[in-house]
Symmetry: C2
Subunit: 331 residues, 2 copies
């Protein structure tokens, strides 16, 4: 008989024991049928369900030297909740497929579950993890599916922007990008190995940027608000404002003009930094912008470029590149 480790690895525990420990931390189910059967059953009150999936992979998407289990759970939830909100919908449930090395400590996965729950509670009350799957893998992978309800609204698509609309944003732009620059610039380490984050070495503003990168805080509740206020198009800004605005412009057959003077002191990172998951939306000029949205530009007829910044084209490069060289031994 072996003496149990205080913080065992997953390989040392049975699947049943692992799931029991995680379910406690995920909190109570709010579904018609919650975790534990072959599938969950969720309410879809208006006869439709909104569904999206987004994955965080160790290496391309995060470094374990920089992100705690809690951070990863929070972020995996937040990025999916933002995609639901960007349709004008209210998140109702998450399903989480977790693939984890056997050598992972149980406490790490418990913190991940706590981060998932905390993000739901803070950003989308009424939404909880209602199903999942746990697998062994050489690569830590968190694939989340989020479901949501439009509550009778029409979905707000990317393709509805019309010339004359106001372009507006809710939520931060560039904060997560600044956090990423701090991680790579200050804690990148030598020889490609990331160093642990030393919060003492940061100013309060740098620390806030780091938090925005590791635990993004998208304005989920403003998705339905924008839909109710008459948004003609909407999407979340995951890859940078210029790049995502160019997608919205292409889908709508228009050009988006952005005034960089609306973007604060560091307009460059606001234009290119990704991962804030702010909501980018267009509204008819005749309507008042809902609280929480600020104007950043206007929609004009389709021109040679999908996006113009201060009247000029912008290549939109910047932000986290998932195809960046990744050294598996670097953490």
């Amino acid at each position: 008989m072996s003496i149990p480790d205080e913080d065992p690895t997953l390989g040392e525990l049975s699947e049943g024991e692992i799931l029991r420990r995680l379910l406690v931390r995920l909190g109570p189910s709010l579904a018609l049928v919650g975790p534990g059967d072959d599938a969950a059953v969720l309410a879809a009150p208006d006869g439709r369900v909104v569904a999206t999936t987004d994955t965080l992979v160790h290496g391309p998407d995060f470094r374990l030297a920089w992100s705690s289990g809690y951070d990863l759970g929070w972020k995996a939830a937040a990025v999916n909740l933002a995609d639901i909100a960007a349709m004008g919908a209210r998140p109702t449930a998450l399903l989480v497929a977790l693939a984890v090395p056997n050598s992972t400590r149980m406490s790490f996965v418990e913190h991940l579950a706590e981060g998932l729950r905390a993000a739901c509670d803070a950003l989308a009350p009424g939404c909880a993890v209602e199903g999942g799957d746990l697998t062994v893998s050489d690569t830590l992978t968190i694939a989340v599916t989020a479901l949501g309800s439009l509550d009778g609204r029409a979905p707000v698509l990317r393709g509805g922007a019309r010339s004359g609309d106001v372009v507006a944003v809710a939520g931060p732009l560039g904060r997560a990008g600044r956090g990423l620059a701090i991680l790579f610039g200050r804690f990148g380490g030598s020889a490609g190995a990331p160093a642990a984050v030393d919060l003492e070495a940061l100013t309060p503003e740098e620390s806030a940027a780091l938090t925005a990168q590791l635990r993004p805080d998208p304005p989920i509740r403003l998705g339905p608000v924008a839909a109710d206020a008459g948004a003609t198009a909407m999407m979340d800004v995951s890859d940078g404002l210029v790049l995502d605005a160019s997608r919205l412009a292409a889908a709508s057959g228009v050009t988006v003009e952005i005034d960089s003077s609306t973007l604060g002191a560091d307009a460059v990172v606001a234009l290119t930094g990704g991962e804030d998951h702010a909501l980018l939306a267009t509204f008819p000029m005749s309507l008042a912008l809902p609280d929480g949205f600020r104007p950043i530009g206007r929609v004009v007829p389709q021109a040679a470029y999908p996006v113009l910044v201060d009247g000029r084209p912008h290549d939109g490069r910047g932000g986290w590149d998932p195809y960046r060289d990744w050294d598996a031994h670097g953490g």
Copy 2:
């Protein structure tokens, strides 16, 4: 300018080009809003949606020497469709989160998309891939979420079996397990490296078992049929009949008695072999079993063991063990 390879790797193509090539192979969307926006919008006609997620990971779940891209797409779809069917529901949509090494050939991922579509078309007409996510990873990982509609039915849970019910099964038992034994026994290779499957070396029956393992054929349409016929409990057999029947028994607070004489010539593999995704269901004795289901035993009051085979306890071991030692260099 480089000359394009006839079968480029994913790392040689842009994300947009990869997605364009995959979308063509996934076929037309059947959703209210299909792929291409922040999220899909699916019909949930009775005001509820059934949702489940299940993942295939290179190493613990499959070997690339044995499974083609087509096989993996088919299997990833089939195992999730079976979980929807096991609730008594009709599958309506899949969302697929794919994490793939950059060195993967585009043709492999195209075949994976074709396998996903073919499994939907064959097993669950009306269901298609309506959303997804593509990420770079060191470990090939296919996380599928399936959604379904109960069309007004009550969901059939694991916990509804009552003493006196007939225990019945639809679909094969043990075929996929025989296929697994053939793979490890005949194509395991030396030094842990799996060898390519040589179909010429197999009898027709062995070849059928291999197909059952690599491209399982669960009776998806019989899930709603069982629900309509009055099934009191249901689940899919993914980890072996004895193990899964013991879960159904525990959830229902009963004991399941299985007659091994009903299981064919090789009862041992039928009792322990996993991955056939047959439907295991219980029905009141007063009702006729629906076509496609065959009786294999009965439900009795809870006894010392959750499952008895021919009156004796059975440890249920066998089948694929995801925690089996996995050598990442072995394929």
